[in-house]
């Protein structure tokens, strides 16, 4: 117990999480008289999980897209198609952020890459400063529930590590995220439509020529979502193969065909994307060891027993889970949170009769909110840095968006059908 507290303090002082987790696992194994060579065996399990291939490849594709002019074209396209609707531009912002985040993972890239385009555009369209800032900051994590977002994939990988009797694939999670994700976009869009604009610029419906022009501009990127999702559900390739196709395709169009990324810049993009991948995979590697230790010593079932003496209803458990995940989302980044908490929480939740797919969606929805929950949500700081505004101002700006998405999270939590309807 004293060691756990000690490790927690070391983690809070800012030690790399992988080192803290590895230390915990090794202490545990040492107490059980297990040879520490087991650490190498557990880390080597990274080479025995085929779906993991999806993580570096999708991350790399996302980094390439973020460095190219694809964000600009994406905004242009959606703006022409939908900008003339009431609240159109705000909805454009929401949709592009969601799509972009799905492909890049919510690592703050959305705010940095799209924010620069959307923020001035929103102000020109007459939206207030506070609304514009709040919208972009809270949309920075919107889209986590849409395929092929990295957190969805990682949740699927973690489930597979647990060896459940239920056979749940990553493609099931991709389906499960659709309706809850759309609910979030819908609620935020409705809120945007009732915003008053000063001055209310009359926007005209674009001519057919304009529409054709922007479609032609994005002709290379447009097939991407269809190739990825169509390929997976059409049975042409698996999730990790979809990642390979995406990486190759994005590399070809942005570097060879459109030439928006000079060859010289490629090594740097590769390195920075792989630094992120390495950071995630090493935590996964050492956590596999810790998880095994905890399952051997029956931590999840003990946890369930002790929780059950206080809580007997599934719904009370879910509301406490919401609070716990919200707090967790402020402290930990989404990837470490998934890797560390999922192996403990899933067995407990199953005992309460919660479907693992539903749990995953609830988990990610809460985490999404945690990204901009004051006082320490990561995206608040990224936006503060990007738009050169004090963090306090962003706290205020995001409050209405926080409550709207909180309602969405509660609906997602208490109506499991929303997540499970499309999954059979």
């Amino acid at each position: 117990m004293i060691f756990v507290v000690l490790l927690l303090i070391i983690a809070l002082l800012g030690a790399p999480l992988y080192a803290v987790l590895a230390a915990g696992a090794m202490l545990g194994f040492h107490n059980e008289d297990i040879d520490l060579a087991v650490m190498a065996i557990e880390i080597y399990r990274l080479a025995e999980t085929p779906v993991l291939l999806a993580i570096p490849l999708f991350t790399f594709a996302g980094y390439i897209l973020g460095e190219s002019k694809a964000p600009y074209r994406l905004v242009n396209l959606t703006n022409t198609l939908m900008g003339w609707l009431p609240g159109g531009l705000a909805i454009v912002a929401l949709m592009t952020c969601a799509l972009f985040t799905a492909f890049t993972g919510a690592s703050g890239v959305t705010i940095v890459a799209l924010g620069a385009l959307l923020y001035p555009a929103l102000k020109v369209a007459g939206y207030g400063e506070r609304f514009s800032l709040g919208l972009i900051t809270s949309s920075g994590s919107l889209g986590l529930l849409f395929a092929p977002s990295l957190p969805l994939i990682l949740y699927g990988i973690m489930l597979q590590q647990l060896g459940l009797t239920l056979d749940i694939g990553i493609d099931d999670l991709f389906l499960a995220g659709i309706l809850p994700g759309l609910l979030m976009v819908f609620l935020l869009s409705s809120y945007s439509m009732i915003q008053k604009r000063q001055p209310a610029v009359a926007t005209e419906k674009p001519s057919n020529g304009d529409t054709l022009k922007v479609i032609r501009e994005s002709i290379w990127e447009l097939p991407l979502p269809f190739v990825v999702l169509g390929g997976i559900y059409g049975g042409f390739f698996t999730v990790s193969e979809a990642a390979a196709v995406t990486a190759l395709y994005v590399l070809l169009i942005e570097v060879v065909i459109l030439r928006e990324i000079p060859l010289k810049k490629l090594p740097e993009i590769m390195r920075s994307s792989m630094v992120m991948v390495g950071g995630i995979l090493i935590i996964l590697g050492v956590s596999l060891a810790l998880t095994n230790y905890m399952i051997d010593t029956q931590v999840p079932s003990q946890l369930f027993e002790s929780i059950r003496t206080h809580i007997d209803s599934k719904w009370t458990f879910l509301i406490l889970l919401n609070l716990f995940l919200l707090a967790l989302g402020m402290m930990l980044d989404i990837f470490s949170a998934l890797i560390i908490i999922v192996p403990i929480i899933v067995p407990v939740a199953i005992n309460y009769g919660i479907h693992p797919v539903h749990l995953g969606i609830v988990f990610l929805a809460n985490m999404q909110l945690g990204y901009f929950t004051p006082p320490v949500g990561m995206n608040l700081f990224i936006a503060s840095y990007r738009f050169e505004r004090p963090v306090m101002e962003l706290y205020r700006a995001t409050i209405p968006f926080f409550f709207i998405l909180l309602i969405a999270v509660l609906i997602i939590t208490y109506i499991p059908e929303l997540s499970l309807f499309l999954v059979d």
Binding site: I10, A11, L12, L13, G14, A15, P16, L17, Y18, A19, A22, A23, M26, D35, L36, A37, M39, A40, I41, I43, Y44, L46, A47, T49, P50, L52, L53, I55, P56, L57, F60, F236, F237, S240, E241, A243, A244, V245, A247, L248, L266, M270, R271, M274, V275, M276, V277, G278, G279, I280, L281, I282, I283, L284, G285, M331, L332, D333, F335, V376
Partner: protein, 171 residues
């Protein structure tokens, strides 16, 4: 006595090492993309496949992950909980860095040591991973990367001690 010249030689050597790592990282990533794509192409068009492609790709994920982690430790870009760091004063932050780097150096050194023993056992056992490639060779990446990460954390301790010294003389 460490002269300025020594420092520049050390820096140059470090730059070469970093460049080699970056090159290996890029090579791994590109070959993964090409190999995985080729595999899908062959399967969907000719209904066959390269036998060693899938196991090789899986091992490449391990290598890429560990090389990426190694690059992350170069720039101190590992995932941490940075809630407290945001409120620390500069001096306290240097102390915290020195302490956490020492902790990380010890942990990674222990993993490096025990995985070296594991590699030796695997070598003794002579087990084959796939296509006649001995398993121990593939595992070797674990002790190598963890050992270098340990050294890198020692370098971080040195760097933060110097920064702390400069901070104290300034104050």
């Amino acid at each position: 006595m460490v002269t300025k010249q020594d420092v520049s030689v050390v820096n140059r050597i470090l730059t070469y090492i970093h460049r080699f790592e970056d090159g290996l990282l890029a090579l791994l990533l590109l070959s993964m993309i090409v190999l995985a794509s080729t595999q899908i192409f062959i399967r969907n068009l000719f209904d066959s496949g390269i036998v060693w492609a899938d196991p090789l790709l899986r091992v490449m994920v391990l290598w890429l992950g560990l090389m990426g982690a190694l690059a992350a430790s170069r720039e101190n870009k590992h995932i941490t909980i940075d809630v407290l760091n945001r409120v620390m004063t500069e001096k306290v932050r240097h102390f915290a860095h020195i302490f956490t780097a020492l902790f990380t150096a010890i942990v990674t050194a222990i993993i490096a040591y025990h995985s070296t023993l594991f590699v030796l056992i695997e070598r003794e056992a002579n087990s084959v991973a796939f296509s006649n490639i001995p398993a121990w060779m593939l595992v070797t990446i674990i002790p190598i990367t963890f050992a270098i990460m340990s050294v890198r954390n020692l370098i971080h301790i040195y760097q933060h001690s110097i920064a702390l010294k400069e901070f104290n003389t300034k104050a």
